[in-house]
Subunit: 254 residues, 2 copies
């Protein structure tokens, strides 16, 4: 298995930011300058067309470090950010752009493209968890959460369906198609689901269907006017991760 | 206008509880043992068939006092609690019970009954606000919020539509009929809306229609599996009232 290699390292406003790579997958790790094993780890995904250091993602990551003392990891999805886009992915992107320009629905293309990306991204996130847990400051004691909308949710729902190390997740902004609904049904961890109510490309009925599908006993849907580009996170359950990712005490929780 | 008359007064676990009446409308006021003018005031409504001291309401009221230092007022709706039920109201209750027993839809009866109750309850709440603001420990400096589901929302939506002293409100569990939708459209204060997703007597489509109708710039919908009897309030925006009911500083805010 590829090792985790750290490269650049900066500290800004009390947040340590470390670039890393695992094979050809580049990532960023935000954290307090020092922290104990057992500190909660948030995996933060980026939306379609964005990357591991998208401004909104960085702002949320830094807030999670500063406000809650968490560690946050982000990686580029296949064909995103610093990773080259394959010819096959380019064809999907072109088809999506063409459909948008023609005013045609893009749902079927997005579903197919994102499902393919998720199939490739899941083992990359799993390797990221493996390598981060191998770090002496993180270890297997760190409770793990996942958060991210749109493409990041497509990937995160596929990941959480097969990855028991993820203990709580925030998803949202996804279309309802069969493979995603199947994954959602296999998820039983606490879920917070974000639903933009007026997003031309994300029908609210799809969001409700995905929310209904989650097998979780504890799940809550937070819906808001407008599209998925401006999510009023301060209006949701700001204690979601703190309630579910209780820091382990070394030597007590294995 | 009828004066506010206090009667019983008890203090339990740091919460002062005072019974009051304004004419024939009995109420309860929960508060810290002492507090300053400008302390936020929460008007808390009860559900249909319940009363001003329903166990769930009392628990929420005491939590608002203990956790946030708020003052909370509750009154019996017309024909509820200590107030006699009129023959007309009894006929609605009987019709509702008969329909339920026969497995018939109760929506039309509930809409008509609750609209009538709301028409009568709005001036009672307005008199309650008047009389509470006349108390030296409350005054007009106290920012006011309203919270309550089902019947309490029918009443609260009618109240907030005409009463500018209410600055933020939590509603939920209502049916969508024209008079209620009209009131909702007139509301522009921040609203948090609670939507049970699997309530046989409260279709989710109705909740979404009412939420869409609110004229508020800031509104958020929190939906959860199950019916309206077990609302997982800890999963919502627990900072909703603190964000919107900022205590006034005497002499600074008029």
């Amino acid at each position: 298995m590829n090792q985790l290699q750290f490269s650049a390292r900066t500290t800004l406003d009390g947040v340590l930011e470390r670039d890393f790579a695992i094979g050809d997958v580049p990532g960023v790790l935000w954290s307090p300058p020092s922290f104990s094993p057992g500190t909660p780890l948030i995996l933060m995904g980026h939306g379609g067309g964005l990357h591991k250091r998208a401004p909104g993602l960085v702002a949320r990551a830094r807030a999670a470090v500063v406000d809650d003392g968490y560690v946050v990891a982000s990686i580029d999805a296949p064909g995103h950010g610093a990773r080259p886009r394959s010819d096959e992915d380019q064809r999907w992107v072109d088809a999506m752009m063409d459909a948008r320009k023609a005013g045609e629905p893009i749902g079927a293309i997005v579903a197919e493209f994102n499902t393919s990306l998720a199939r490739r991204a899941v083992p990359e996130w799993q390797a990221t968890i493996d390598r981060l847990q191998a770090l002496p400051e993180i270890t297997q004691d760190a409770p793990i959460g996942y958060t991210g909308m749109t493409l990041a949710s497509t990937i995160g729902i596929a990941l959480a369906a097969v990855e028991p190390r993820i203990r709580a997740a925030i998803f949202g902004g996804v279309l309802a198609y069969e493979s995603l609904l199947e994954d959602a049904r296999r998820i039983t961890i606490p879920v917070e689901f974000l639903l933009p109510l007026d997003d031309a490309e994300l029908p609210r009925e799809d969001g409700l269907a995905v929310f209904d599908a989650f097998g979780s006993q504890e799940k809550t849907l937070h819906a808001f006017p407008g599209g998925h580009f401006r999510v009023p996170t301060e209006r949701f359950d700001t204690r979601f991760f703190p309630r579910h990712l209780v820091p382990s005490v070394a030597g007590v929780v294995g």
